[in-house]
């Protein structure tokens, strides 16, 4: 992506799109500092990018379209799913009932099933208009949100400066147990990180229907990351997530 053109004005576009490698980006930054025409072009491109960002978010598909598509391929209409608020209410109830009981451990050996459920929860979130129950880029808002809803508060880290801003959190249900999931964004893709107490040895990375799943264990907790970003991006995310300091 660096030898494509020597035209510095073209390179400014690639720079604004984050497509230059660090060395070339640095070299271009020096040139922009010296050449006001290049700097002005950068300002215009960034202004245009901001203006386009303010356009109506990608229009949602019209309400009937999904049904038409499902009919066209011979799918039955899916059963109506409970709304998030109803689900959240029942989760609070479930959490209340389990007070004093041992937080259920996911049985070892069920990793494959758990993986399916993690992917299923992620897909359902993608399809919903709200992929999270609490929408916030502030880890100080997201973490406390789980308090009082489920018995465990998840590990939350801030990776915004690495290109993975926090978008929010939601409660998923895995093996009939409510569990916390965090939602991060990478470009236009969402990454769900689900935290499970206990569990056996994490299964190897896998890919199903275009979704990559990476599981790892740390401090008695199994984490599951699922997304349709490129596999190497998800691996990078997992590495950063693991290394970053957690919010107390």
């Amino acid at each position: 992506m660096t030898q494509a053109s020597d035209d510095p004005f073209l390179l400014v576009h690639a720079y604004c799109d984050g497509e230059l490698d660090p060395a070339n980006a640095l070299a271009l930054e020096r040139r922009m500092a010296e050449d006001p025409r290049l700097a002005a072009e950068r300002d215009r491109i960034e202004a245009l990018k901001r203006a386009m960002g303010k356009l109506r978010r990608a229009p949602m598909a019209p309400p009937g379209l999904r049904a038409k598509v499902e009919r066209a391929v011979g799918m039955r209409r899916p059963a109506v799913r409970p709304t998030w608020s109803a689900l959240a209410a029942s989760v609070v109830l479930a959490a209340a009932i389990s007070v004093g009981a041992t937080w259920s451990l996911i049985a070892p050996g069920s990793a494959g099933l758990v993986g399916d459920e993690v992917v299923g929860n992620h897909i359902r979130a993608l399809m919903s208009e709200h992929p999270y129950d609490v929408a916030s880029s502030d880890q100080h808002t997201v973490k406390p949100w789980f308090n009082g809803r489920i018995p465990v508060s998840p590990r939350v880290v801030d990776l915004a400066s690495e290109g993975f801003p926090l978008e929010g959190g939601r409660i998923d249900v895995i093996a009939k147990t409510p569990v916390p999931s965090l939602v991060y964004r990478f470009r236009k893709h969402l990454i769900s990180v689900t935290e499970l107490q206990g569990g056996g040895a994490p299964p190897p990375e896998r890919t199903a229907d275009g979704y990559h799943v990476i599981a790892w264990r740390a401090g008695g907790v199994t984490y599951w990351a699922v997304s349709d970003v490129e596999l190497d991006e998800l691996q990078k995310f997992v590495k950063l997530w693991h290394a970053a300091p957690a919010l107390e």
């Binding site: 245009l48 960002g53 990608a58 229009p59 949602m60 598909a61 039955r76 236009k188 229907d209 275009g210």
Partner: protein, 179 residues
């Protein structure tokens, strides 16, 4: 549900909103966009066995893009998409960066940013389809150059120059003071 339908539900349906957005920008018309998405979904369903398990969103968007081209050729003005390469029609020097940037007409960044959404949308709609699809794949769908090159079937260098030209046209349009 059959395996194909389950797979379709997992691979294609989560990206219906993105598919519709792309179709709408290419067709510039809501009802055409719906027809294109439906046809693209049928194609995706028939081809679901061939989906290689990587990047469902890119796969869906490339089907929508190809369907849009054939659909627009069949149902709308064939000339709209008959030009194989807009670069051949428009010599490279016409809006080369250096001339443009040093010309006194270079608009201020602030003027571009203040442009209202309707003007911006209209300016995007007027772009040649090759420029428009590249810009929309980048700024609306958030794809990187490599993914855009794969979907539109051109080298990354062409993606880069199409993006630059698309943006330059918009800057000139938006930089004009409103009358």
């Amino acid at each position: 549900m059959s395996d194909e339908r389950t797979r379709f539900a997992n691979v294609v349906l989560p990206h219906l909103g993105d598919a519709y957005a792309l179709a709408r920008w290419l067709a510039r018309n809501d009802s055409d966009a719906e027809d294109i998405v439906q046809e693209a979904c049928l194609r995706a369903f028939r081809g679901i066995a061939g989906f290689g398990n990587i990047n469902a969103r890119g796969w869906v968007l490339s089907i929508v893009r190809n369907t849009a081209y054939t659909w627009l050729k069949r149902h709308r003005d064939p000339k709209v998409v008959a030009v194989d390469s807009v670069e051949e029609v428009e010599p490279a020097g016409v809006d080369a960066g250096i001339d443009w940037a040093s010309s006194p007409a270079s608009p201020e960044a602030a003027l571009i940013e203040r442009a209202d959404a309707a003007r911006l949308e209209a300016a995007i709609a007027e772009l040649p389809i090759e420029f428009r699809e590249t810009l929309v794949l980048r700024e609306v769908e958030g794809l990187d150059y490599r993914a855009i090159a794969e979907i539109t079937g051109v080298p990354i260098g062409t993606v880069m120059s199409r993006l630059a030209r698309a943006r330059r046209r918009l800057m000139v349009q938006l930089g004009k003071e409103e009358k």
